[in-house]
Structures are given as C-alpha cells and as structure tokens.
C-alpha cells in the first residue's frame, strides 16, 4: 500500500514497444529505449575518488609507506606497509594540520586465501578538523603487527579483541590477554575456518 505502482521501471523497460522484434536487447539503446525510462536514477559511482587532504599529506610525507589507495562511498582507505604503520600513525596524530586524534575503530578481517591473510583496519577521525581516513595493514598468520597503543590508548582493548577473536598479535602491547573469551578458550572464532557452532558442539544438536 505505500507504493502505488509496484516496480514499473524494471519490468516495463525491457519489452518497451517492440513486442515482436527478435533481437530486443541489443536494439534497445538507439530505437525504443528512451521513452519508457524517463529518469534513470542517477547512478551513484561508489568508487569515485575523493579529494582527501589527509591522503595527500600522507603521500607527501611518507610516499614509500602507501601501497594502495581505494575509495568507496566517499571514504578513503589507505593500505600501508606494516613497518611504516607506527610512523604514519604518529604523523597523522601529531601533524598540526591533520590532528587525527580520535581512533574510532580498530578491527581485523580474515582473508584465508591470501598469503598475508589478516588485515587490520584503523578508522581515524579528527575531532577538531572533522576529517577522516581509514588505514589498513596486512599481516601473515603468526606475524605481529606493531601496536598503536602508544599513539592512542583506546587501541588497547581493540587490539586485545583482535588478538582474542582473530589471533593476530601486536608487538609492544602492554597487556596481551584475551578479552571477551575465557583464557582457556581454544582457537579464534572470527577466523573463517572456525565453525559457527564451535568445535565439539555436536551434543548441542537439536533432537
């Protein structure tokens, strides 16, 4: 009842006016396609590059650290070399023109098919200047990532959580313990090979 015409656009568009024409699809653009689609919704280019002053400053200061830059929905994500991470974070926080003082989020993502299977993602904001950037580093299983607890204290619990749920260790972390799971827990649940039900849980099957 909210929408009077339930999706007229996608259904009505392909047949158009030419009902008997054998090749309807390739002949669409020149002949009959324009009247039924009066206003195709402005296609949002999600991957459109954004003009980011933070990215420019980072590239100018540490050109060797930036491996890859990607954009999605107005966000800038920078893949950094692991060995340059601390340097880049300190620069972003302490530079008077950037002042990325708020580490909003830190988390890990598991890509088991890659040689460096873990990605650690840092979402940074600047409270005073109101700009943002996302950083990323990649690491292999068993290799540590430099801890950013010395730059932002909030990273402490976030890194403990990544250690707990993904098994990525952080070099220089002041308190590397599990945080959400018990100390004697086996395995790391957010790894892709970890079953959703957990190991040895067959007795929980529904009867």
């Amino acid at each position: 009842m909210p929408s009077p015409d339930p999706k007229p656009g996608p259904v009505a568009a392909p047949p158009g006016s030419g009902s008997m024409s054998p090749p309807p699809k390739p002949a669409q653009p020149p002949a009959a396609a324009s009247p039924p689609k009066p206003a195709p919704p402005p296609k949002v280019d999600l991957k459109a590059p954004v003009d980011s002053p933070v990215l420019k400053a980072l590239q100018a200061k540490l050109p060797q650290a930036v491996v890859e830059v990607s954009f999605h929905a107005g966000e800038t994500t920078v893949l950094l070399k692991k060995e340059n991470l601390l340097e880049a974070c300190r620069f972003l926080k302490e530079d008077p023109n950037l002042r990325m003082d708020h580490l909003s989020n830190l988390c890990g993502v598991d890509f088991p098919d890659r040689p460096e299977r873990f990605e650690v993602v840092y979402h940074l904001f600047s409270i005073s200047l109101k700009h943002r950037i996302n950083l990323k580093v990649r690491t292999a299983d068993g290799e540590a990532v430099p801890s950013v607890t010395g730059v932002w204290r909030t990273a402490n619990w976030h890194e403990r959580e990544v250690l707990d749920l993904l098994g990525v260790s952080f070099e220089g972390h002041p308190d590397p313990r599990r945080i959400l799971l018990t100390d004697e827990w086996q395995g790391h649940p957010l790894r892709k090979e970890y079953p959703v039900k957990g190991y040895d849980r067959d007795h929980l099957k529904l009867r």
Partner: protein, 365 residues
C-alpha cells in the same frame, strides 16, 4: 604489630549496580581504589561471527540485541551503513520518521540511565518518575512497530510500515507534556545536597584523556569537547533541525548528569520540528529484493545515546557480509573506567559505572 596490606575485592558479575554482567577486580588500599581490572565477556554471543552467516535483512534483529536499551539507534546505524554501502536513497518521509523515533529512543534511553543511576546512588523516586515517562515512549513504539524493546523497526531503503493513524498526535502530546515532567526530576535532583555530594567532583575524565581513550558521547562533551556526530558529520536529515549540543567543562559525574538532562530537552525540540515538517509520500526507496552490495567496505558512525556507534561492513559482492564489525560506545567508554576511579572510594565506583551509562549487551556483543 599492626600491618597493612592491599586487598583484592571482586565486584560482579552478579551485582545490581554493574548494570548487567560486568566484573571488576578492585585492588583496595583501605577504602581507596588503587587499581582495577575490568573483566568483560560474560554476555559475548559472537554476533559478528553470526552476521557472516546471515543475509543483510536477517542481521537487523541482531543489532537490536546489542544495545537493547537503545535498539532504535542500533537499527538506524545498521540500515544507514548498508544504504551507504550500496548508494541507496531513502525517501524523505522515512528519514523523518527515523529521526522522530530515534530521538524518542534517545529520551527513553536517557530516562533508563537517569532512573537507574539515581537508584544506584540512593534516590528511589526518580526511578518511578522516569519509567512513567519511558512507558509513554514505549507505547508509541509499540504502536509503530509492535515491539517494546527489540524493535527491528527500519528496513534497508526505508521503513516497513507507515505511522499508524493518530500516532503523530500522541507523539505531539508526549512532546508537550515531557518538559513539565522533566522539571520534576530537576526538582528532585539538580539542587539536592545528597545528589551534589555524591556526584560533584566524582569520576573526573579530562578532555585529553577522554579523546585518548576514544570516549565519546555525553562523557566526552562533559569535558568541554564539542563533538556530536549529528553536527560534526550530519547523517540522515539531522542538518535540517535546530538544536544545540550541550557542553560543560567540569568533567565530573554531575556535569554528565546535566548534559544528559539537556540532551533530552534538545531531543524533544528535534522531535517537535520533525513532526511539524513531516512530509507525505513514499516510505520505501527503490531497493532490490535480494540485497547484494557491490564489492567494497564502508564505515559509518551515528551518535547514539551513549556515544559514537560505528558499523563496519566488508562486502565481497555476496548477499551476506564478509565481515561485520560493531564499534560499540559502551565497550570503548568502559575502557576509561580504571582511570576514572583510581584514587576514589569504593562507593564512588558505583556512581562512575552509572555515569558511563554502559549496556553490557553492547560491551560484549
């Protein structure tokens, strides 16, 4: 010979003042807290893992169960993140209804906070008053979406239902009576000597520490930092409303009380304006039946009642998220607790837990 020694005291996980299953290991020197170990995870349900196995529509009810005191806000943040990921445009009417319900939710959440916080400190009457008004909001939510706690009220691209007939009049009635009711809480607490004694100068968190700990929401604004995502990075239609962001400079529990009280007044203002300008029209945008976002990742934040609510989705072009991450304000704010209670008395620990306004479902996920 007398001798003194430090003493370990365990508080929680079953303790009425920890607002759920929070456990603290306090190291005491007499009655003074010298160190604290915060132990969490008793309510960990692995929601992030579960989300990887569910399609995008099925995740929304899970978000209700994170911060169950402000479930509307979890819904709002989640659907907006998926919309941002896919580039979906939401109709105006749906945006306005979202803002109205979300701001009512902020009032309801602050009422739960005020009632329980005052109860922890020893003022019982406030609790009954707060829940009396919260009941009106919950009735409104029940009329809108059928649920009183876990709403699942929005959909990706809009809303599942329009407002029922007469709903806006009931909402207007609430907006009209609420400022008067709020004066009653004011009279009970704001100049109450016991309240002042228990909250003034307690749980100090200065601006540089708050930012360093990632603390957001009223706890950050009580330290003089004007950071509200509704103003700093406006989302939805928040840029169209007139409201103020209260900021105070004393960094203590009493200031956080004042800020939340003022936020309720400001939320009432927003609801009033949104009701006045509520447009007619569609409530659901053009959304494919199967939600399949393109490959990419997005991080979106909204200003929940407790602070910055973040949602991070990695999509591999499938109908399920590859990785879903909830940045919950309670989890991050709780990290500042040991810093805030160092050197204070055991009785003040209860006040500081209350002023942080944590929800353990949100902490443990």
């Amino acid at each position: 010979m007398f001798r003194t020694e430090m003493m370990d005291i365990n508080m929680g996980p079953q303790h009425p003042a920890t607002h759920g299953v929070l456990r603290l290991k306090l190291l005491l020197d007499g009655e003074t807290v010298t160190d604290t170990d915060v132990i969490i995870g008793y309510l960990h349900r692995g929601v992030e893992k579960l989300c990887e196995t569910k399609n995008y529509h099925m995740i929304e009810p899970y978000t209700d169960r994170l911060d169950y005191v402000a479930a509307m806000y979890e819904n709002l943040g989640y659907v907006e993140t998926v919309e941002k990921l896919m580039g979906i445009k939401v109709p105006e009417r749906a945006e306005y209804i979202r803002v109205i319900t979300a701001e009512l939710q902020r009032i309801a959440s602050h009422l739960v906070w005020l009632g329980t916080h005052a109860l922890d400190i020893g003022a019982m009457t406030v609790f009954f008053y707060c829940f009396r008004e919260r009941e009106i909001i919950l009735d409104l939510f029940e009329a809108f979406c059928g649920a009183r706690l876990t709403y699942n009220a929005y959909r990706i691209g809009g809303l599942p239902w329009d407002l029922p007939p007469g709903w806006t009049d009931r909402a207007r009635h609430f907006v009209k009576i609420f400022p008067e009711r709020q004066k009653e809480y004011d009279q009970l607490l704001t100049k109450n000597r016991i309240w002042l004694g228990r909250t003034k100068g307690i749980g100090i968190l200065r601006a540089e520490d708050a930012i360093d700990f990632g603390v957001t929401g009223p706890c950050l604004r009580s330290a003089g930092v004007d950071y509200d995502l509704r103003k700093a990075h406006p989302y939805s239609v928040y840029d169209r409303f007139q409201f103020d962001v209260p900021v105070t400079y004393n960094c203590d529990t009493y200031d956080r009380y004042l800020i939340r009280m003022e936020e309720m007044r400001q939320s009432t203002r927003i609801v009033e304006q949104a009701l006045d300008h509520l447009p007619a029209g569609e409530i659901m945008g053009k959304v494919p039946k199967r939600i399949k976002p393109p490959v990419g990742e997005v991080y979106h934040t909204v200003e929940g009642p407790r602070g910055e609510l973040g949602f991070y989705i990695v999509s591999q072009g499938e109908d399920k998220p590859y990785r879903m991450r909830f940045r919950s304000p309670s989890f991050v704010n709780l990290q500042a607790l040991p810093h805030m209670i160092r050197g204070s008395l055991v009785a003040d620990v209860v006040a500081v837990i209350g002023t942080l306004d944590i929800v353990l479902g949100d902490v443990d996920r």
